[in-house]
């Protein structure tokens, strides 16, 4: 956790010295986090919801 915060602090500190690098990092991080969360939620939906739909399989 501390390592993650240190990394985030380092990226945030880029905003003063290397604004372009910070801006690009923001875009990449937000898109990557979005894609990861879509994948994670899809997997969770498959695990927790699909097995419950027995009706379709029984048909």
């Amino acid at each position: 956790m501390d390592t993650a915060f240190t990394l985030l602090n380092t990226i945030q500190s880029l905003s003063t010295e290397h604004p372009v690098a910070f801006a690009v990092s923001v875009l990449l991080i937000m898109i990557t986090e979005g894609l990861l969360l879509v994948g994670l939620i899809s997997v969770m939906l498959k695990i927790f919801i699909r097995p419950g739909s027995r009706t379709r399989r029984s048909r």
């Binding site: 915060f5 801006a23 923001v26 898109i31 986090e33 939620i41 419950g52």
Partner: protein, 340 residues
């Protein structure tokens, strides 16, 4: 804002992200009109609130677009035409703002137009909904009502100015390329002129101007928000006005909310989505009016009330969407089939 301050309100940020994400996925808007005042209430200086919200919008619109794409609700071709038109419109809007700034009364004019637009759009959409539910012959043809488009969209489709394009994902057999481009220019112009994301203008423009079904309008609008928010977030980050950790925490809730909102569009009729949207922007109009009155008469309390009002309305709307989704899922399970 130091990292410790952000982590101390982490759960609030996740909840806020969920509320705005749900509305974003359901209505196809960025949700800046809710998120910016909410972050401001939580202690973010206004410029940081805007910058952080833009970064969040990039992530949440990506999530919601992917979900809508899987449902077949994104017309990528139409989205690209609209983006091209929007770029021109944004530039024109910026030029007009700078011209008005030079003449003096820019801010008051812009705010008044913003308030009038919110109330007019809301009133028109409520009128449209009431007309729909009070005419039995329209209700009898419910499945076809959306595909037939609006009176305006049918007239616009008759324009035969080349090149003509096909937009099958939106149910449009043939339309002049200049129509979606022009709508992009107009909505981009208004968004840039008013200093807002523009999702709340584009969504009704796609429905009433092009006759796009509500669910496709929502998905296509979200697709366009990816580009506009990426551009906005880049500009604010260049100025160091994005708090990355806050945006990342907000996205945790927003990504879940965006999927909930996107799923809910499958269980709520298009006309009902329009009604909820109209009610939300009506209260957004009330909130902006209160805020503006607070500025004009120097009453800070009105600005605070405006912020709480819009967050409260967004919370109630989120609850309605979640309940609709749960009821829809129960009904589907009862029938024995399964969504997506």
């Amino acid at each position: 804002m130091p990292i410790e301050d952000v982590t101390s309100i982490a759960w609030l940020l996740v909840l806020l992200g969920f509320i705005v994400g749900t509305l974003s996925g359901f209505f196809g808007v960025g949700g800046a009109f809710i998120m910016t005042p909410a972050l401001n209430i939580l202690g973010f200086p206004i410029v940081y609130a805007i910058g952080t919200d833009l970064a969040l919008m990039l992530g949440s619109s990506t999530v919601a677009t992917i979900r809508h794409f899987r449902f077949g609700n994104v017309d990528i071709r139409l989205g690209i035409y609209m983006v091209l038109g929007t770029i021109v419109g944004v530039w024109l809007g910026k030029e007009l703002v700078f011209f008005l700034l030079a003449s003096g009364d820019a801010e008051m004019v812009i705010r008044l137009i913003y308030i009038i637009l919110l109330f007019s759009l809301s009133a028109f959409m409520v009128y449209d909904y009431i007309t729909f539910i009070t005419r039995p012959h329209l209700q009898a043809n419910k499945p076809n009502t959306e595909s037939r488009g609006t009176h305006l969209s049918r007239r616009l489709r008759q324009i035969k100015l080349r090149p003509m394009v096909k937009l099958p994902a939106s149910g449009i057999r043939q339309i002049s390329l200049w129509v979606p481009l022009s709508i992009g220019v107009i909505t981009g112009f208004l968004a840039s002129f008013l200093g807002v994301g523009g999702g709340f203008i584009r969504m009704p423009a796609l429905i009433y101007g092009l006759g796009v079904p509500t669910s496709v309008a929502v998905g296509t609008d979200l697709f366009e928000i990816i580009f506009s928010s990426a551009f906005g977030a880049f500009l604010y980050a260049m100025e160091g006005k994005v708090i990355l950790l806050a945006a990342m925490i907000l996205l945790l809730g927003a990504s879940l909310g965006a999927q909930v909102g996107s799923y809910a569009t499958r269980y709520v009729r298009g006309m009902r989505v329009r009604l909820y949207f109209a009610l939300t922007i009506f209260f957004a109009g009330v909130s902006v009016t209160l805020k503006q009155l607070g500025v004009w008469h120097d009453i800070p309390l009105l600005s605070t009330i405006a912020g709480y009002l819009i967050v409260g309305v967004a919370t109630i709307m989120m609850m309605i969407i979640v309940v609709k989704l749960i009821l829809g899922l129960i009904a589907h399970h009862a029938r024995g089939d399964h969504p997506a």
